[in-house]
Symmetry: C2
Subunit: 357 residues, 2 copies
DNA sequence: CTTTCTACGTAAAACGATTTACGTTTAAAT
DNA sequence: ATTTAAACGTAAATCGTTTTACGTAGAAAG
């Protein structure tokens, strides 16, 4: 059953032309007269010929592969991103090489190194951390690359991410409008710039309303670590009236813990999640959540990378895409009984007080 | 900043040896004296040398890449599978090339063809359908491949899947034990062998208990199509006392629809889901579900493929892994009021009746 | 009619590794 | 000490493409 694959020479012989001509027919690199081209194409079809990518890569230097490095293949946010990029890349007949870093800097560097050995045309990367040591590798290789989602603080290259500050702002404002003052923010790790940005968004609302400082817990990068950390929270403080999760694993962790505490959502406690998945709409109560435009992020990342591959050398583009608040039913007005107003006297109140003396 | 990547010759020159020796140091293909080997390794490190995979692929013929073809990159079941395979493959320094077929046969063939152009050492594939036209391509290429999850009816090669019959059996039995007799089974498409197997498992329980025939709807492959189809169901028949979903999108669709109908789970209707994800534990009520051992499936698929790549030619292996029922709280005893006993007289009853005449 | 382009085909070099064929050194055997 | 074989290096051939340098034919220009 096994047939040795046809090479460009076999096709050339069958079509009665030289190998170079066959190459030109397929690569479109130089024009070939229609008649000949047709003969070549027929010969190729008859032999089931497909150009060997490794060989063409080797000689041509520039291959039609792009590398994608993400922290976790088991996190649907990242795989959605990969799906979006793959769709866009495939449309221009680029193949994708995927690697995951397990949220670890040195793992990331190692994976990237083997990726680079394929001489890809470009790389899309969601860094494992703000340290982003892979940056050096990429720059040394002189490869175009786009950073997505986790854009380090002082990063100057091409980047696509959510408008995290605004996302935090929207989320916090929503909960405040519902009367919540005792909110616990569930983050993955403050070592990530995007998380810090979301927090500043929240803090700006706290400041606006002159409220107590941010109450925050770090949950790590897995469902399990999140649940464990939250379990511990119960022993440290009384239950807040609302949880604001800043990642999808955080959302899951909060929900699972509330489950164990037998707390009803939203009657006993409101929950605002991050990232928007099908299951959030399907469950009861449907989850209020901040939706990141993940498909759009993937498309934009590809578009930028594509241009760079073409040789475009405009100044770096830093794209921030707006998130939207999906209001559903897991957030409700804070029940009056449970609202313990821990608000400090507002500036205005204090001023009034001062005047009256 | 851009540095032209070092080639094997650069390393050879720096270490004062020939290119062949450098190759041997890295490939371990032939022994090299420790002293020399060390010198070569140092030179390589100094130059940041990494063997060009395309070049080594070209000459060596056998590359260290494996292709993975799955129906959807946005379905967490499949991406979990990819994650498991990637972990196993990476441990033996194989890279993975991922392609998705969008559940379409011809798309699958096209994607596979471009994958094959990389001359991978092997392929793991979840076919888009039972037709599995890609099989011919793979066999013609003489490439080892393993079929996972959707194994066509009469398939004879290496395969790894769940024990779908038993999964259906367990699920149905669980619902029957809780007293449910009016169950709607939500499948993706009966054109898939694995779905048919799950159905026969369910049917065997129906037969055992002499119950009414299977009530089934096909929901398609996306959350949206599932929700739409279920919406329509409401106009066609009265509400069942339980839903048994056979895929993860089906589970989501059922849940979302129940949501819209304002039906409480499990008080009004029980729900048994398929596939087991974090969110199922986190939501309220936690979902009873059939768990497929997806990581194990990935590991086993890799193990078989690895052996075939090594040249093993044992007869094909058809592995079936057991699923487990995760009992949680979305299934409950059928409320007596709503139990409409549509059971036909059992064979025993009928026999008794006949005798008494 | 000659000259000058332009268009397009061919043969051969190149890409960066592995592998083969062969040579030299070193160790083991007589 | 001589022979034999094993061990290990080197140079050159090779994988299947793309690219370069060159050649030829026909068209356009003078």
């Amino acid at each position: 059953m096994k047939v040795p694959p046809a090479s460009i020479k076999d096709v050339a012989k069958r079509a009665g032309v030289s190998a170079g001509t066959v190459s030109n027919v397929f690569s479109g690199n130089r024009p070939v007269k229609p008649g000949l081209a047709k003969r070549v194409r027929e010969a190729a079809a008859a032999l089931g010929y497909e150009p060997d990518r490794a060989a063409s890569q080797l000689r041509g230097g520039k291959g039609r592969v792009v590398g994608i490095v993400i922290p976790e293949l088991s996190n649907p946010f990242f795989t959605s991103l990969v799906a979006a990029i793959e769709t866009a890349a495939r449309a221009e007949s680029f193949d994708i090489l995927v690697a995951s870093s397990s949220d670890d800097d040195s793992e990331e560097a190692a994976r990237l190194r083997t990726l680079l050995a394929w001489k890809p045309a470009g790389v899309v990367i969601v860094p494992a951390s703000d340290e982003f040591p892979s940056r050096g590798l990429l720059e040394k290789a002189g490869l175009p690359f786009v950073v997505v989602d986790r854009v380090p603080q002082d990063f100057t290259g091409d980047a696509v991410s959510s408008d995290n500050f605004d996302a935090g702002l929207q989320a916090a404002r929503h909960l405040f409008e519902l009367g919540h003052r005792d909110i616990v923010v569930a983050a993955s790790s403050m070592r990530l710039q995007n998380i810090r940005e979301r927090c500043s968004g929240i803090e700006s609302v706290l400041r606006e309303t002159d409220s107590a400082p941010l109450s925050l817990i770090e949950l790590g990068f897995s469902f399990e670590s999140a649940a464990a950390r939250l379990e511990q929270l119960a022993t440290e403080r009384r239950r807040p009236t609302a949880f604001l999760a800043l990642t999808n694993f955080g959302t899951l962790g909060v929900l699972a813990t509330l489950q164990q505490w037998n707390a009803r959502v939203p009657d006993d406690v409101s929950v605002l999640g991050f990232d928007d998945y099908s299951w959030m709409r399907a469950v009861s109560p449907p989850l209020t959540a901040i939706r990141q435009p993940v498909e759009e992020m993937g498309r934009r990342a590809w578009r930028i990378l594509r241009r760079r591959i073409e040789g475009d050398s405009e100044p770096p583009e830093g794209i921030r895409l707006a998130c939207t608040l999906e209001r559903r039913r897991s957030t409700a007005t804070c029940p009056p009984g449970t609202t313990i107003d821990i608000k400090r006297p507002s500036r205005r109140d204090r001023d009034d007080l001062a005047k009256s003396n």
